[in-house]
Structure formats: C-alpha cells, structure tokens
Symmetry: D2
Subunit: 349 residues, 4 copies
Amino acid sequence: MIIIMERDATAVNVQAVTELLKEHGFQVIVHEGDVHTVIDALGDKTTLSPGRIEALDGVKQIKFIREPFRLASRDRKSEDTVIEFENGVKIGGANRPVAMVGPCSVEEDYEGLLQVALAAKELGCQFLRGGAFKPRTSPYDFDGLGEKGLQLLARAKEDTGLLVVTELMDSTDLDLVYKYADVIQIGARNMQNFKLLKAVGHCDKPVILKRGPASTIREFLLAAEHIMYNGNEKVILCERGIKGFDSSFTRNVLDISAIPVIKKYSHLPVIVDPSHGTGQRYLIEPMAKAGLVAGADGVMVEVHHNPAKALSDGKQSLSISQFKEVFTKLNALIDTLHLEKSSTISFVE
Amino acid sequence: MIIIMERDATAVNVQAVTELLKEHGFQVIVHEGDVHTVIDALGDKTTLSPGRIEALDGVKQIKFIREPFRLASRDRKSEDTVIEFENGVKIGGANRPVAMVGPCSVEEDYEGLLQVALAAKELGCQFLRGGAFKPRTSPYDFDGLGEKGLQLLARAKEDTGLLVVTELMDSTDLDLVYKYADVIQIGARNMQNFKLLKAVGHCDKPVILKRGPASTIREFLLAAEHIMYNGNEKVILCERGIKGFDSSFTRNVLDISAIPVIKKYSHLPVIVDPSHGTGQRYLIEPMAKAGLVAGADGVMVEVHHNPAKALSDGKQSLSISQFKEVFTKLNALIDTLHLEKSSTISFVE
Amino acid sequence: MIIIMERDATAVNVQAVTELLKEHGFQVIVHEGDVHTVIDALGDKTTLSPGRIEALDGVKQIKFIREPFRLASRDRKSEDTVIEFENGVKIGGANRPVAMVGPCSVEEDYEGLLQVALAAKELGCQFLRGGAFKPRTSPYDFDGLGEKGLQLLARAKEDTGLLVVTELMDSTDLDLVYKYADVIQIGARNMQNFKLLKAVGHCDKPVILKRGPASTIREFLLAAEHIMYNGNEKVILCERGIKGFDSSFTRNVLDISAIPVIKKYSHLPVIVDPSHGTGQRYLIEPMAKAGLVAGADGVMVEVHHNPAKALSDGKQSLSISQFKEVFTKLNALIDTLHLEKSSTISFVE
Amino acid sequence: MIIIMERDATAVNVQAVTELLKEHGFQVIVHEGDVHTVIDALGDKTTLSPGRIEALDGVKQIKFIREPFRLASRDRKSEDTVIEFENGVKIGGANRPVAMVGPCSVEEDYEGLLQVALAAKELGCQFLRGGAFKPRTSPYDFDGLGEKGLQLLARAKEDTGLLVVTELMDSTDLDLVYKYADVIQIGARNMQNFKLLKAVGHCDKPVILKRGPASTIREFLLAAEHIMYNGNEKVILCERGIKGFDSSFTRNVLDISAIPVIKKYSHLPVIVDPSHGTGQRYLIEPMAKAGLVAGADGVMVEVHHNPAKALSDGKQSLSISQFKEVFTKLNALIDTLHLEKSSTISFVE
C-alpha cells in the first residue's frame, strides 16, 4: 500500500499516518518528493481498513499494490477451482463448458417445464434453471410460485437427472431453497446483499453469484470473497451484463472481457448469461459464442416451452425449437474449445 | 401503450398482439404504416405485464405513454406528500428542509456519539443518523455493533430529543430495528432487495429509500412503489450518487438533477446525501448546497467526533468543528430557501 | 412518430402540434387518453427536425417508430454492403473476415515496419495499419511523423502488396492522406467531428469510422449517415470499446453485442478492434475471437516489432512472435466461420 | 511514479525498467515485496511517456503521484486565473459570476436575436452566445448560417455592447471566427480534436472548452493543457453534462461536483451549462443555481425569442419572458454569492 500525502500535509500529518501503520504491524518507508510525500507500507491490509488511513488529515490518496480480495485471488491459489457434483458433472478448469437452461420463472404447467428439461437433456445440458422466487422491478409483475416452483423443479430433476439451479432472494428462505437446489443462485440485484452472502457462505452447496449491473470486477470478486470468507469456496461467477449508456437495443452491456480478466486474477469458474446480458433473443447465439471463445466455463440461457405465454422474460427466451438449433451450434463450438482446453493457458499474453 | 411491430411481422403476429390486449381489457387501434404496423393500446398496464407482449413474435418494441409507477406518481396525487413525526417535525412540501447527521457507523464510544448529537441539536438538525448494521464491500471491514448500536442511538435520542434514522439490511432484523428507529433506512445496495422492500412496506414507520448506484429514476420510483404497494406510503427518497466512468476524484456522481426530476414526476419527498455521493469531505458543503437549491427536502451528512479514528467512512465525514462551520452556512441557505418555498412551484418551466 | 402531450396540455397546444406536422406533410391522428393526449404522425421525419416539435408548449415526449438513420439502414437496403478493393480484397457480406494489423504509430525505423508487414503478409492479412497523425490525450506524448509516416507506409505497401489503412485527423490533411491511404480511418474521438465526416463523405475511398467511446449505436450510425449523405457509401464501422465505470483492468468496455446489433439494423460492414477496446495485450486473442464469432467482418490489431520500444500503445501491441501465435489461432477460427458464412443468416432469431 | 511489477516478473524485467527510467533522468528505488516488486521513480514524467514503461515485459501497472496536467494545475499556479476583456468584464477568481445567454443557433431573423440580446443586457448579462457553425448528430438537421450568422452576432454586439461567444468547429474556419468572436467556444464533441485545440492554442482570444460527454476530469484538464501548451492560457472550462445510463428524463447527467473538484485541482475558471446539461427547460433554473452555489464562475443558458420556432434546441431554450423570470432569481443568488466570495476559500475541507 502506498499513501500519497497532500501537497500541504504537515510533518505531524505524516507522523500520524506512519504511527497508525506501525501499530498494525506494517513496515513503513517515507519518501519526501518535491511535491508530495509518499509513504510505502508493507504488510497485511486485512487487519487495517484503508478507510482508517484515508480519514487521517493530509492523506490525498492510497494506491494499492495487491488486490483487496485474497481467497478468490490467483495469488493464493494458482490452479483453477473445479466444482464437482455427485453425478460427476464438473465446472471449471480444463473441463468441458457446461450449459444451464430453463425458464426464467417456473410456472404452473409442469408439462411445459418437462419439455424444456427433456430437450436440455437431449442436447447434453447438465443443469435445469428456473426461478421460484423472482425479483421484479415492478410490484405489478409475477414474482414466482415459491415452494411449489421448487417442487416442480425437483420433479423435473427426478424425471431427467438434470441438476437444479434456482435463486435465493432472502436468507429466511435458505432452508427451503437448500432442500431443492443443487446450485444456489444469488441474483445480480443481491450481489451486495451481504447478509445473504454470509448465509450462503455458511452452507455447503455451490453458489452462482451474478455480477451486479453497476459492480466493478473488484467489487464482484469482493462479493465472492464474502461467501468464501464465511466458509464456502464453491463459488461460480456469472457475467450477465452491466449498465451502459445505451439501452435502445440491449438491456445491458454484456462485458465479455470480464471473463478473461477474472480468469487471470481469480481461480474461480466463470459462466456467461447472454439472456439477461442482452435481453434479446437474437443476441443469445452470438453472445453465448463470444463468452465461450473468451474462456467461459459455461453458459446460462433462458428457454421456455412457449415464450409468447411466459410470465416473465419471454422476449429473451428461446423456444424449444430455437433452443435446439442454437445449442446444436453451441455444442459444436464447445467440442472444439474443449479439445483446445487440454493445454491450460488459453491465450497469448 | 404503443406496440411497434417488426418490418416483417405478419397479419397473424398482429392478431396475436391485439387478442392478448383485448383479453386484458385494452382498447386497441391498429395503424398500418409504410414500414411498421403500430398498435395503440389504451388501458391499465398493471394487469398485463409488458413483458408478455414483448415476447410475442413480430413485436419490435413497446413505447409507454404513462409511467409504470402509479402510487408514487403525481398523476395520482398532485400535492406533495408531507411526513410528520410525533414531535412535530415534518418532511416534504413547503416545510423547511431537514437535516440528518451523525456517524457512518455507531461505535462503542457513547461520549463521541453524544457530542455529535449535541452539536446537531445545537445547529437545529432534527435527526441523528448512525448505522448499527453496516454493508461493507470487503468482508475484512467493520460491519457494525448490531443491537448494541441501536441502544446507543436510543440513548442519544433520550439525551437530545433527536429522531433516529438507522439502516435495516435484512428482513430478519426488522422487529429489532423497528423498535429503535424513527425512520428506517434502506441502503443503496438493497434498493432492489424486494423482500426487504415488502417487509418495510408492511410496517408503519417512515422509510428512507436510497437510490441504487446503477438505478434509473424509473427503477428508483418503482422500488418506492414496492413499499407503497405493500401499504406504507411514508417513503422518503434519497439521492446519493450513481456510478460514473470517472472515480478518480469522487466515489460516485451525485445526480443533482434527479431531485427536480423526481419532484416533477412524484409527490414523495427527496433528500440528498453528499457524503456518500462524493466520498470527499471538501465536497460536502458545495454539494449539500447544490442539492438544496435544486429543491431537496433535506440533507443527510456524515459527522464523526473524530474522523481520523472512525471505523468507517472517515474520509467523507466532517469533524464536529467542520460540521458547525458547514451547517452555519447551510442553515443560512435553508432559511432563505424556506422563505421562497411559500410559493409551491419553485422553478420556471 | 408519436407525440405525447403533457397531462396539462391545452387544446391550443395540441393544435399547434398538429398544424406544424400538417405543414410538413405529415398525416395526423389525435387520440385523447385519460391522462395524456397522444398524436400519431405518419410521414418523413427528415424534412422536420423532431427538435422543432419538442420545443412546442405542452409536448412531453416524442417516440420514434423508424430509426433516424436512413441510408445506413437495412430498411433501405437489405443485402450486406460489400466493399471491394483493386486487388480483389473484399470486406463485408459472405466474404472471409479480413485482418488489419500494424503499429499504433509509424516510427522512423522502416525495417521494423517492414518486419511487421512481412509477418502480416505471411499470415494472410490484407491490410497494414499505422498512424502518421496521432491524437494524444496529453500534449507531452509523441503525435506522429506526419507525411514521412505516410511515405513509409507507401514503401511497405510497395514491398508487400498490403493495402494501407491510416487515420485522418483534420480536413486540411485530406489530400495528403488520400494520396497514400487505401482506407481512411476516422478515429473514435473524431466520430462526431462533422466537418471531417463531410470531407471524407466527398471522397471516393473507403472510410473506417470508429465508434466514439460515449456514442450510442444510434449516434454511431448517424455519424456513418453523415458520410453517406455526402456521397460516400463505402463506410466500414469499427467497434473499439466504450467508456465504462470500471477502468481498473481494461481501458474500455469492448461492446461485442454492438456487432450483431449493427448487423441487424444496418447493411454496413463492421470490424472489431480489441487492442484499443481493452488496452491489454493478453485480451487481444479472446476478444478478437469474441468479435469474430459474434459476426465481425474483420479485426484490427496493433502489432509492433518491438513493443517495449514503441512510442505509443506498446502495452496493447503484440510482438511479431505473439502476433504469429495469435493469428495462427485466429486464422483457424476465421476459416471455420467463413465456411459457415455461406448461409447468409448466421444467428437464430 | 510507482511501477508495480507482475508476480512473475524476472530480475531482467526489473532491470529493463530501471534502466529506461535512469536513461530519462529518473531517480529509482526498488522494493522487493513478498508478492510484487515495486519501483519508485522520482523525476519529470513529461520527458518519458508512461506508455513506454507500461509496454515493458513484466510491468503490471503504473501508479501516478502527480497529475499529468501541469500548466492547468494549481500545483504550478495557486491563485485563480482571471480573464479580463477590453470592456472590463472579468471571469474567474473573486469576480461576480458571469452570464452567457442567447440562442443555440443564430437564425435569419435579426430582430429575434436583438430581442434576446436586449433582454440579456437588461438583466445584466455580459455575453451573447449563438452558433453560426452547428454540430448536428443527424445530417438532416439545420447546421448553421456560417459567416452570415457571425455577422448577425457582430451587429447585435454593436447594438448592445455584449461580448460575443461562438463555436469554432474546424481549424479552417479559425480566421473567420476569430474576426467576430470575443470568446471562441470548442464544443463537447470536439474536446479531443487535438488539431483544433492546437489551433486555438496559437491564438490570443479566450477559449471556452466544453467537457466531452465521456471525458474524465483528467482528460478534460489535459485537453485544456493542449491549448495552454500551445501558448494560450486563457481557457474557461465548461461543465455541460456527461453520458449516463438514464436518458429518460435528461439528455445528460450534469456533473455539478466537477465544478468544485476542478476548482481544487486547477486555477482555471469554470462555468456551467444547464441547457445542454439537462436538455429540459424546467431544469435550467435549479441546475443553474446548483452550479453557482457549487462555485461556478458563470452560467451559459440558451434563450430564444420564440423557442417553439427555434431551428435547434428549442426544447431546452427559455423564452424571453421565462429568461427574465429565471435570471431575476439567478441574479439575486449571484449577488449573495458574490458577497461571500470576498473570502477566497469557499468550502470547508
């Protein structure tokens, strides 16, 4: 950590900083520049919040050398984290990228859900996704079937063998969701709901953490850090689009480069969600492909047996026939990428 | 609502749209343009989610005539909402702008908190703010004293008569926070935590809803709508900065124009938080002033008895002497603005 | 065009709008809603600036049915524009994606430039790119060799047969740049330098128009429209990253989805520039791939014979050996994509 | 400057960096941390572009201690720059904030322009603004009268004594604009048109530089640096809104906090333009006030004798009667602020 003092900082100001640092076990070196005094501090930032230093008089800015996330960092663990399920499915590392598909919300019609699940099974997908608890921007929109939705997912799992991914919105529902889910999803709008992160940090099921629409990559990895810090290292990161200044053609800006950036700085697996990332059916195929060639460990796509009647997100859902067409192409791409993946380092640096 | 069909939409596509609309009681008029067919639908959008229409084949885009928020809208209630407390303090409408001050987090040292509260009282502030539950980006940072913090706030209330504002982070803590708070704050990162919005919507205390850093004004008002829809109309909106592309000098971009925009479209009171909005002590004074002249019904400012030792947000907190200097100036401005406020419409349109 | 009137608009206001529209040959239909009066206007917006209507009293908002760009739109021309060069190279449509490589700035050392050009030739690239006039954020940075740089590019063209792409920064240099360039590049920071757009609109060489970092897709296509409107239809659009709120790991957010969006709404060819789009060498390979699978008609990549000594953009340049490694992989991907491209519609809609 | 090396940087990498630094006269100190080697470099960055260092193998990141702008910085010149005109009008420092008003574009109707100018004169404004060359997003919009527009401005100057502010779009028009303008305006879309900046840098008239919609404050000050570096120190900065993610209610986000930030880091005067900053007539008054209380040295506002017939920007223009009402209020505020300004430091830090 490097502390830059204001132009007009006094010797007393500098001393206050060095003392605080030394109290917390930092090794300190002071350079007096022609304009600014600069203080180098070597030590472990997790024991002293940088905010404490910033608050001292005369401190202009702190520059960090190490990233603030530790458990999620490749500096701690250089090999890729691989998450393995009971049925042998694996996410991360040199494994074949996985596919998670299903409707935005689980609806009453079980036959429809089953059709989607069977198609997913047929195309080699490993996970069925579907929401029983739905966050909705407007209170006038359908917000999920609750436990009944979870039961329908469980039934589809029994009928197809697919693993179940579903969202947890509130820590009070954890036991319920835990009972039915193979992977617990934390939605984008809850990425910094720290009570919720803590709650899933205390459980032993894999967690998909979706990137908040205004979250920097650093904030995203710090949110993962919250889960890991509380004991659960099975975190799958999901890029699903960030807020941009142009929402005329897409709902969000799907930040494809976040995938190789995260893979460089973290050992955690990363998947991509082109449905929410774009909000447009016709962009699912190109953006799923883009995510995969950029190194994603999986894709999450919304599929509905009848998008025209879907109670949520119909516009960005594929119908079953569209799903088959798109995933036949994606599977071909995934096969090729999987072959290449035998070598660990994918990209020229 | 106006539905624009794709260039290549078929007659069958158009019919599917008109039928769905009619089923939900809309009056429908179809215009065949030279490029696009356009469908006008008159009726109540709250009974039919626009997503249902968007999902139909051949639909290019929906344009809305009315805003999606209803309870929060001036179209429903043209006079300003005024929230009144037992001790006679009022927020909103033609009332004098209020001030909410105090430390970011409540800390063990009660004397420090009391000093801040007494200074606040002396300068005519009406509210003491302080966090007992703190959302923290990093798991390595101090996250609040919990109930003990709430008790310290209650003690300061007893000693000064100030009303207490404190944050609720999780619905499981509602009863606890309800017991001590005069105003319950929902933090920016929880603006779309819909379970939490629902929970405070069911209670009868005023709620401060902070704008999420990536939330549009429409999303912000829809979040307020969630609270109101569940029964609580006492919502105070708080502008506290949005994510921008330049974080070199300020943490966020404090969107001052959101204040007059919201006042035009909604009847709810709006306050401004220049501490979080900028993250810089030297910007509190100019930005508090900017918010007030732009029409804010109050300001929320972080004050700490010893910012250099604050466990959180010291950099953006005023010391007590700085607070006195700044608020002496702000009070003068508030007095002038209050005089002007006798006339309801403030700005030339 | 649909004009939505304010709640409190008067009959006189509505009449003023309808009269202005009729004067300009629009067909007008007025709907009186319960809250807002809505006016449908059918006609050609190019003869009446929407700003004229917005300025009338009582007008709340205008919603557009048709896109404001016409010449660049697929509504006018449904088949892809293909740009062909004298040596038979083609960009756009079902043609093999092209590659444009070379140093950020042309430097004094011709041997270095030639090495890059020979490697490019060897790997099947069609274009040599290099700047003779360089826009620089700081006045203290190297800003190009001017005509001498253009002469070195011409020499490399003679020695390799590669086509030359170079940037024009000011209309006063047009004749000079025209003399040496096969493709004239308009940089991102000049995307809305309308005098410059007009100037290249009057000439007959293909133009690469880079997307401005804060430009919406609509503004981007309107900038292309300026060139086309002045007579030059040979416009190649280039996605090169937009401003985002996180610049810790990448310089810009490379907006991959802009590629399929533009291909849907416009017939113009689109290329992708992962060097400027990310500012990081290790992101060139994954992001070039992402752009290609998303439908780009070509890639533009910075290559320098000795990035460690480059006078500009060394950090995001590939060395010659890295270039060979990356482009061997990209060529394999391009070959596969080219085979698929025989069918015109690439993505499931 | 502090150079942080990658985790896996070699001794050879470190040596290459230290050698390059020493070659350019930097004093170098190397710290070997447990994860990263860090190199402190003391010296003058204007002689060695940081890009040169970043391009070396093993360099992770450079952290800057000093800002990259020098001439525009308060580090070089601590007192405020004051620009004085022949008629005694002054901008900057402790002087009364100025007002620049007039139509977006100058139109054929001289009487209309004169009415605006006379009203401006009457209300104590010092400058008449009006565009003769207009940048327009769409080629189908009115783009100004050219020299004729300049002549009309000159005539209004003669008739009222107001100083003339008008935009220069292309360096080829410099002589023409120079002849008629008292202040040359560089528009937001040309903020990084470096040839244009150089051109006005060579002349001796004051320049208003508008902030580009995607420009950071650092880029903005570096653009000013281009003008100053070429010899012209009379630069007035203008905040006029940045691109945000919400354009439903305002065209841009007017970044009020940029004003006190710039005043802290630079000695140049800063004005605020609420017309372009919001695009809404009803926001001009609150946002002009916000800018002024936050420290702006002046306001620029669009006024048209008949906004309903304005050829551009009518929606955001005040009519003459609205102008009088708004500026009567603004003048009262300016009077108060001017009294306070006698003390140089306005805000508590």
